[in-house]
Structures are given as C-alpha cells and as structure tokens.
Amino acid sequence: MTAILELDGIETAYGDSQILFGVSLRVGRGEVATLLGRNGMGKTTTVRSIMGLSPIRRGAIRFDGKNIHDLPPHRVARAGLGLVPEGRQIFPNLSVRENLTATARPGGPWTLARVLELFPAFGERLDAMGIVLSGGEQQMLAIGRALMTDPKLLILDEATEGLAPLVRREIWRALAQLKSEGQSILIIDKNIDALLRLADSHHVLDKGRVAWSGSSADLAAQPDLQHKYLGI
C-alpha cells in the first residue's frame, strides 16, 4: 500500500516547551489509522503540525508524495487535507448550508446532496444557524464541512468526545461508510473498542514519541500495552 501521509521524525515546540520529539508514522492510501495516547502526549500537536498550524522545527511531512511542512495552513488544506478539529469549531454565524458550502471545493466528488445522504439528519435543518445545533449535530457538520473540501485524507481530532452514545454510533457508522468508499482517515479518539473495529493501524504516542505502532489485531492482543499507554 502506498503512503498518503508520512511523518518523518517531526519535532514541534510551542515557544520553549517542546512537545514532539521525533514522531514518525505513515498512513496508507485508503487506510484508517489512529493516534492513541493519554492527554498531553502530543496527539493534537501532531495534527496541528500536519496541518501547518504549528510549524515543525525538525523532520519532514510528506503528503501524497510532496513535502508539505513548509506550507502555510491554507495551502496544506488545499493539498487535500481535511481536518475535523477538536471542539468542532463550526461557524456559529453561518447557517448549516453555508457552513457546508462556504469552504467547499466545487467539481469534486463531494456535494451537498452526498453529505445529506451520509447525515440525513441535516435535511430539515439546512437553514438553521450553526450556533443552535447540538454537539452531535455540530460534529456531523464539521465532518461534512471537511468532506466538502474533497480531502484525500480526513483527519478527526477527538471524533466522538462528549457526545451521547446514540450520536457516537451515528458517527462510527458514517466513518465506516467512508472507509468502505475508500476514504483515507487519520483519527484520534478514546473509544478503543470502536477504533479496533474501524481502523487498520494504530500509533501510540507517549511523551512526544511514537511508542508503538501496529495493526488492530496486534493491539487487541496486548492488553498490557493498552494499560501502560492508554490507561485502560
């Protein structure tokens, strides 16, 4: 499987405090990969580094065969990375329809109709303002918004955090559907059981380094690993 994304020893710091100490991993085309680890181990910083929001100090990030670590965030996004950020961050002052279409890239495979197929709940709420949506609806909207940019790789930071069980199930269902359609996905979440079912490969971060990488079967077979790094 060719790689869609490769991190090669990236180091990132906020001012004087270094967070990442050489993170290396690869995500294959059409693969669902995860970033695991306790809070503060560098998962979000890794995502921010990929997106160009926190520039790296050392290392390299290759996406779709090209180096992207020197690009500003908007160019990274244009290259085909779609982020569903932690805390959703939808535009509260735009309607649901506008949230989806404002940043959409026309001409690609994703259309408003297709997003509505994936999340039928929006059908009746297209004209509602973003600010009135529930947390679950906001998360679906954030995913839809990212998909409308026709990403080659979809990145979700805390895909189901703080959502009700029913809504979580809806999100996992949608992600499984995306996977079946060949969408490459990099996902951060704390729900190991769901991730074991959905994902192909896993990367465990510990203190700014990748402590372990392997398949779902490998991870499921090592409860001590889960205990040590994930606190399960």
Partner: protein
Amino acid sequence: MGARFAAFAILALLAAVPAIAALLDQPFYLDIFGRAMVYAIAAISLNLILGYGGLISFGHAAFIGIGGYAVGILSVNGIDDVLLQWPAAIGAAGMFALLTGFVVLRTGGAHFIMITLAFAQMLFFLFTSLELYGGDDGLSIPHRGTLAGFKVLDSPVALYYLVFAVLAGALALSARLVESRFGMVLRGCKSNERRMRALGFSTFRYKLAAYVLSGALCGFAGALLALESEFVGPSVLHWSRSGELIVMVVMGGMGTVFGPLFGALAYLMLGHFLGDLTKHWHVILGPVLILIVLYARGGLAGLFARLGKRP
C-alpha cells in the same frame, strides 16, 4: 422578513421625498434626506467589513474625505464631469484602502481600531495643512459638475435621485455580496479566522478585498457628499465622523443588509429633530444608543425582524 419590509417602506418614502418637499414647500427636506442617504451609503460600506468581517475600522471617515477631496480638487482644476470625478474618487479611496490595508489587516482587535484611526488622523492633518486646497477652511466647489456633459446636477431633485440610485445599488451589492461565497468566507473569518485558513482559504486576501471594496464605496459616498454640499473640508474626515459611522452601523444592526440604512437615517433624523430642541442632543442620543445596544439585539434591523415575526 420584517426588516426587509421596513427597508422597502423607507426606500419608498425616500423616493417620495422630492414630491413631499414640493407639496409642503420645504425644499430643505431634499438636503436632509439627501445627506442621510449619502451617510447610509458610507455606513453600508463600513458594515461590509465591520458587520460581516468583524473588522472595527475607526478611520472610515478618511475614505469620505478622499472621495470628497478628489471631487473638490478636480473641480477647482476644471475637470468637472462626474463621470471623471467619480472614478477618481472611487479609485483614490480604493488605492488608499489597498495600501493601508496591507498594514492594518496584519493587526486585529484593539490594534486594528487604533491603526485605522491613526491613518485617518494622518490624512486629516494632511488636508488641514494643504493650503493650496483650502487648508483648515476647506474647499468650496465652484459649481456642480456635469453628467456626461449634461448640466442635470444643478437640479437638486436630479441629484437627489442620483444619490437614491447609488444607495439602492449599494444595498443590492451588499445583499448579493454577503450571500456569495466571498461573503460566506468573510463571515466565517469573523467567527473563526484560523478555522477558515485550516479549511484552505488565504483569509488575508479576502479581508483585503473586502477592505478595498469598502473603502472604494465609502469614497463614492464622499464624492456624493461633496457634490451635495458643494464643499469639502477636513471636518468630513475628523475622527468623530468615523465614530458616527460606527454608531450608525451598530444602531441599525451590524451584519444585516438593511441595518446601515436604518441606522444612518435614525441617527441623522434623531440629530436633526432633537437638535431643534436642544443643542445638547447627544445627551439624549447616548442613552438611546445604550438602550438599543442592550435590548435590541441586532439593532433596529433585529427589532424590525422581531416585529415582523409577531402575528
């Protein structure tokens, strides 16, 4: 839809002002409402960046001044067809917005307020010291120019309807713009600019384009103001004018299409009629403004919208 209904009612009234003025034999109505429409255009231009983009420009009067002086300076130099004056006014204001935009748009929040104010003050003192064109005293425009060679602008009614047409055009432009992709990106920037960048947009370019468009439209308003009053002086770009424009936009409803129209009319009419009662009319305006900001969310446009929803 209450706000839209109110707006069309007001536009219909404005269209009828010349007839009413003639009927009541009160020709100065044309002056008052003509000037109110010009300020409405300026407020619409400010609303584009303040209301939709969240950029609080405290120097928008500079663009009125540039537009006004462009007309004044061309006029005293013998170039008096408005089809030459207007593009010059719009172009000069747009160019000033472009050049200063590169600087001011790198800042945000309080810094943006201060730096737009600073640029406007620089222009204020520049025109104050420009002895060749009146300096402190301002510049009288010898005569209103021609429109494509025709001397129609000497008729106050013709000039009034010309301003009316520009106002209608500015409203249409504003309405179309905010619905467009450009407008959506601008509004998105207001609530979360970093997110907009992470979704693939160079937000600086969008903000700069909005700033230039806003400045150019405000310059047009300045040109019309100079034409109406046959005079332009440094007072039109005094910082308090920039403040008044902000008050108009806030009163009328930031980030609404018709808010600036409501706000400009309400502010100037309040000033006019309260001014007849007492010259300290700001004492009354202040509390009114506080009440509107506190209780009428979305300004007058929000108020009209809520009234429209009641059965």
